[in-house]
């Protein structure tokens, strides 16, 4: 009993009076020190501020149908953070480290039941329909022969917005995991290419190749969809 009271007093003494949780924003070092000291408030802050983002990323990586897996993956990520805290060398930002744990958890869970384009296929997929270009042998070989569609000229834009989103979502969902990771981290979460590469465990160059292929794939899906829509309108 007396020992328990001592522990409670020690906690009270450790916590600065009027400590503002926001003091950890932008100060990874102080945060890690507090976490290693067992500061529950620090861990709660980290947990609550990162979890919505982690759920969002996991949702994208695992696919829409896997909503129950999302929270399992996020929970496993946090357990990985707790266990890995002592070994975290802080060469990367806390955010990079935590999201990397999440991505690795999601990779382990990624099920074969999700039908995606194989990575090898995506990498050899033409960015633009090859028939758009003038053929080899032509004086202007490789130049555009056809003007790409004007996506701005869509009738009834409001009606199509939800459908457009569905096409975008489906195109992202069918990307191979590596490409989907990159477009999620870069275009949804806004991490720069260097951080995406650190999270994914690859080079910035590879990351940009995957990003290009991912965006190109979504572009072609959207272009096909918008073309077919225009056909209907005619």
């Amino acid at each position: 009993m007396a020992q328990r009271a001592l522990t409670v007093d020690a906690e009270v003494m450790e916590r600065q009076p009027g400590a503002d949780a926001e003091a950890w924003v932008g100060d990874d070092h102080a945060l890690v020190v507090a976490l290693r000291r067992g500061d529950a408030a620090a861990f709660e802050w980290l947990l609550d501020s990162y979890t919505p983002m982690l759920r969002r990323i996991a949702g994208s990586l695992l696919g829409a149908s896997a909503s129950s897996s999302v929270d399992d993956v996020v929970q496993e990520t946090w357990l990985g953070v707790i266990i890995g805290l002592d070994g975290f060398e802080q060469r990367a930002a806390v955010r990079t480290w935590v999201v990397r744990i999440l991505v690795n958890q999601a990779r382990r869970r990624f099920g074969a039941e999700l039908r995606t384009v194989p990575l090898s296929s995506l990498l050899s997929e033409p960015t633009v329909d090859p028939e758009s270009f003038l053929p080899a042998g032509d004086e202007w070989a490789g130049q555009f022969a056809v003007m790409p569609s004007d996506w701005g000229r869509q009738p009834d834009a409001r009606l199509e917005a939800a459908e457009t989103m569905a096409v975008v979502g489906a195109a992202i969902a069918e990307l191979p995991a590596a490409a989907r990771e990159v477009i999620t981290l870069r275009d949804v979460e806004g991490f720069d290419t260097a951080e995406v590469a650190a999270i994914a465990g690859t080079t910035a160059g590879n990351t940009r190749v995957l990003l290009h292929r991912a965006r190109a794939h979504v572009r072609r899906r959207l272009d096909d969809y918008l073309d077919s829509e225009r056909g209907v309108q005619r």
């Binding site: 609550d48 969002r56 633009v128 003038l134 022969a145 275009d187 949804v188 990003l211 290009h212 965006r215």
Partner: protein, 107 residues
């Protein structure tokens, strides 16, 4: 191609090809992500700039790739698992408990 190279009034020789168009569009489109990510060296970057200045088709593709990045962002932020939701209370409590127990494990 939808443009003729010898536009009058451009200040260039009527027999000169616009320098940007010396590179095939099929090559330029492959560089557009490196271009937007600021990953091209100054020379290659300038050549893409020049090509885009002369090529409406590639400029349109660039716009579409940027639109895709925006749409992917919007989709991801609005169509995923319930936005801004945290973990269920029991999961959260289990994690706080795990944190406490792990930190105290040697004491």
């Amino acid at each position: 191609m939808t443009e003729t190279p010898d536009t009058s009034g451009s200040g260039e020789s009527q027999h000169a090809i616009s320098p940007g168009l010396l590179r095939p569009c099929a090559e330029v489109v492959e560089e557009l992500t490196d271009y937007t990510e600021d990953a091209l060296e100054p020379g290659p970057r300038h050549r893409v700039d020049e090509h885009l200045g002369d090529c409406e088709e590639c400029s349109r593709v660039l716009g579409q790739l940027r639109a895709v990045a925006d749409l992917a962002g919007t989709f991801g932020r609005t169509a995923g698992p319930i936005v801004d939701a945290g973990l269920a209370a029991d999961r959260r409590a289990a994690l706080l408990d795990a944190f406490d127990r792990h930190r105290r494990r040697d004491s």
